[in-house]
Amino acid sequence: MILAEVVPLSAKLAVLMADFVGASPIWIFHAIGSLIVAVGVLALVVTPVGLGGVYLERKLAGRMQNRSGPNRVGPYGLLQTLADGVKLLAKEDIAQEGADLPLFRMAPYIVFLAAFAGFVVLPFAPGVIAADLDVGIFYFLALIGLETIGIVMAGWSSNNKWSLLGSMREVAQVVSYELPLGISAMVPVIAAGTMSVYGITEAQSGHIFNWFLLKDGYWAIVMIPSFLVFYVSSLAAAKRAPFDLPEAESELVAGFHTEYSGMRFGMFFLPEYAVMLSLSGITTALFLGGWHDPFGMSGEGGTFHNVWWWGLIWFFLKATILFLSQILLRWTLPRLRVDQVMYLCYKVLLPISMVCLVVAAAMRLI
């Protein structure tokens, strides 16, 4: 696999196919190429990482709570998630009486699709991106909205009042966190001058002070608050504690997925980790320099300039740290109440992100 040149993998595939087939609009091959890469990324990267994420969460949660976590299946319990997956596959698929069956069956697929489609715009390394969309960030936010539809659908069609309440909470949460999430994501967009996630990462090329979080030192005054806002809103987007209201165990039994069993439950469970991962990835790309290392070795003229495996290491290192921080927070904090989530989003995160946006725009102009 030679990926030294900075051309998205999907574009390369598209060119290859276009050469093979002949005259036809190139975008269709781009689409097919993106699809192939997306499936590849899903199979080779996301699913193993997602399974690893589940294991990591359980193990870390155990150790934080002075327990040992999974340690029976395989060495150090590494195969536990796999065993659980097999168990879920083997379980009976139950739909409760009075459920709106077509919607009930469809909901997990929508959630699954939305959660995994987010990986398409993640730039893992120079040249390693499934589809370099010009509106990458926008696309990402759109998918989070799509996931909500799946959850509302699940909550409604379950014919369970707790589920209904869970999906109502999800909707209330979505309309509050989406604004700060979107607005704080615009700050790096302003700094980079592009909405392509790949382009934003490239704009942070070089050592640590080229990363947007600490860009040239003085950019930090807007970047650090907007990074925090984005991070907190991304916790809400991933439905992680302290924002796990839609599935609040002690209040709503299991919220919107109370009535799901077997693999349909699995299709709610695994996307949770996929969303966590993709949000960590997008935070990395937006604020923490993406695949660039802090020493400037991947920058222009550096030793590892455009070396894909070097980028891959750094990208996953940063994303994993963010992922771990999400886990640590979940097992440390209590849950917010539903009106407090709205208070936090509308009265704390939104003003901060607005101020950051305005200041960033002014700084860009000057």
Partner: protein
């Protein structure tokens, strides 16, 4: 309405206590887990534990004292013969009912019934946890055969 000062104080407090919490939970990751891996590591059971009974059928004279004091009537005794020549045919304890109160151990004139440190008894049916200690073909015992120090200070044996 909150003043800006209060608002900022709230945000600051939220961040501060979050980090306080993390500073407590995160070090635990690097400490040894507190849990015991149960089937491999057996917890230390004090000798005073009121677990499953340890019954010595040869000492029993079928006096029915234990069955009489049992608050839930979970002990059923049948014997052939009387007094010295009594021969136990059935000494059944129904563990679906047993309270584990150890009252049965106290009035025994021959000290043949004790409670041991065994705390687990499992079965698929209710019948499997009704145990006949006098069944000589299929003897059941829940200790290593040694007599456990069961020191009741109060009105035992009075």
């Amino acid at each position: 309405m909150l003043s800006f000062r209060q608002w900022a104080g709230n945000v600051w407090n939220g961040l501060k206590t979050t980090f306080t919490g993390l500073s407590i939970t995160v070090p635990y990751i690097f400490r040894k887990p507190y849990t015991l891996q149960y089937p491999e590591e057996v917890p230390e059971i004090p000798t005073t534990e009121r677990g499953l009974h340890n019954f010595e059928v040869d000492l029993c004279i079928a006096c029915d004292q234990c069955a009489k004091i049992c608050p839930v009537d979970c002990i059923a005794i049948e014997a052939e013969g009387k007094g010295k020549f009594a021969r136990m045919t059935k000494f059944e304890i129904d563990y679906t009912k047993c309270l584990f109160c150890a009252l049965c151990c106290e009035p025994c004139p021959t000290e043949c019934i004790h409670m041991g440190p065994t705390f687990d008894l499992v079965g698929y049916t209710r019948e499997e946890v009704i145990i006949n200690y006098a069944d000589r073909e299929n003897p059941r015992t829940f200790s290593d055969g040694e007599k456990l120090p069961y020191e009741i200070v109060s009105f035992a044996r009075k």
